[in-house]
């Protein structure tokens, strides 16, 4: 089976390093970007199997990237998990209602996040 491709977008180096390392060790093909605009153009340019987006990033926020992804046929069903350092209630919109498939608050267990991604990707391929 070909390695599943996952894009991670976060302006926090620690998060990128931690998630990038564990995804790599678990045999995913990882793309790391540090802002929302780069995330959106990368996801639209090449097919990915899932994405993890921080909410508070330079350029588009995570929620804004999700909105744009959902509006595009190529990425309308892409499994996306929103990451955030703030409480879910403090976000401008409820992430699941805004199109995210999952929500994880920092600090997080990378393995749990990967389990969630795996589950979302499996659900999607069963549909």
């Amino acid at each position: 089976m070909a390695a599943r491709k996952v894009l991670v977008a976060d302006d926090d180096e620690t998060t990128l390093f931690v998630l990038g390392t564990v995804l790599d060790l678990e045999d995913f093909e990882v793309t790391l970007v540090a802002d929302g605009d780069a995330a959106l153009s990368a996801l639209l340019a090449a097919p990915s199997d899932a994405a993890v987006l921080d909410h508070a990033m330079p350029g588009r926020t995570g929620l804004e990237v999700i909105e744009a992804l959902r509006a595009d046929d190529r990425t309308s069903t892409l499994p996306v998990v929103l990451l955030s350092g703030v409480d879910r209630d403090s976000l401008p919109a409820d992430p699941l209602a805004a199109g995210a498939d999952g929500y994880v608050s920092k600090p997080f267990s990378p393995l749990h996040l990967i389990e969630l991604l795996q589950q979302l990707m499996d659900d999607r391929s069963r549909r």
């Binding site: 620690t14 564990v22 060790l25 267990s109 393995l111």
Partner: protein
């Protein structure tokens, strides 16, 4: 990077601790996977050994005069390999080769195989086909690895006058050179319906006398030394004593 607030550092610290904990979990899981793989491999190797043994015993049953030959030669060959080529002892395929060396005899007619007396020329030719018959038989069995070279070359001679290829010296696969000595020694010391087995000390003198012609001189010397150290050379012990190599 900007100067981070105390809160940011606290989150980073917690994040790294979670990361470390996950790495530990992954390492433990990986270690367990490796152990499981290793035990599966051991089981598979065990299955291979039983399969090879069964094949070898089937072949031995056909040959009335070789009962016990298989076990003795196997034990001797392994012990001698440990002495002359310790780096090869981890190669399990050599054990397969020692057990299956005569598998090709399955294609030799019973009348020739069990003939009570010397063979005539036609019969000898048939008998001498057994190494290549054996190679052909096992050629499709990948896990036998280098065993095939023992099956093919255990009747080659150091001086090049053996069969089937007439290879000489170092061109003969070392474990085959080891086995040819063990095999000849066992044949000399075993009783046949038409003759009694030679005493061990006489057989050892014979091995020594043929070092450099029939046998690799270094391996022959190591074999004689091994038997001396095991106390086989000084007594008139019968072949039953040979099992002490275990």
């Amino acid at each position: 990077m900007s100067i981070q607030s105390g809160d940011d550092l606290q989150v980073m610290r917690e994040q790294l601790l979670l990361f470390a904990d996950d790495l530990r979990t992954m390492t433990v899981a990986e270690r367990q996977r490796a152990q499981e793989a290793e035990s599966a491999l051991r089981e598979l190797n065990g299955a291979y050994v039983s399969m090879v043994r069964t094949l070898a015993v089937v072949c031995e049953m056909k040959d009335n005069y070789t009962r016990g030959h298989l076990d003795r030669t196997y034990q001797f060959a392994i012990a001698l390999t440990r002495r002359v080529a310790p780096e090869l002892t981890s190669d399990v395929s050599l054990g397969y080769g020692y057990l299956l060396h005569d598998i090709g005899k399955i294609g030799v007619p019973d009348a020739v195989l069990n003939k009570p007396g010397p063979l005539d020329e036609d019969e000898r030719r048939l008998m001498q086909l057994h190494p290549l018959n054996g190679v052909q038989l096992v050629s499709g069995i990948k896990f036998l690895g280098d065993a095939v070279h023992i099956i093919r070359s255990h009747h080659e001679r150091w001086d090049g006058r053996g069969y089937p290829q007439g290879l000489a010296g170092d061109d003969i696969f070392l474990p085959a050179r080891i086995f040819s000595i063990v095999d000849a020694f066992d044949a000399m010391t075993s009783n046949r319906p038409y003759r009694a087995g030679m005493p061990i000390h006489a057989a050892l003198e014979e091995v020594d006398a043929n070092a450099g012609t029939q046998f690799d001189p270094d391996v022959a010397a190591a074999f004689v030394k091994m038997c001396d150290e095991l106390g086989l050379g000084d007594a008139d012990a019968d072949v039953g004593a040979l099992t002490i190599v275990r």
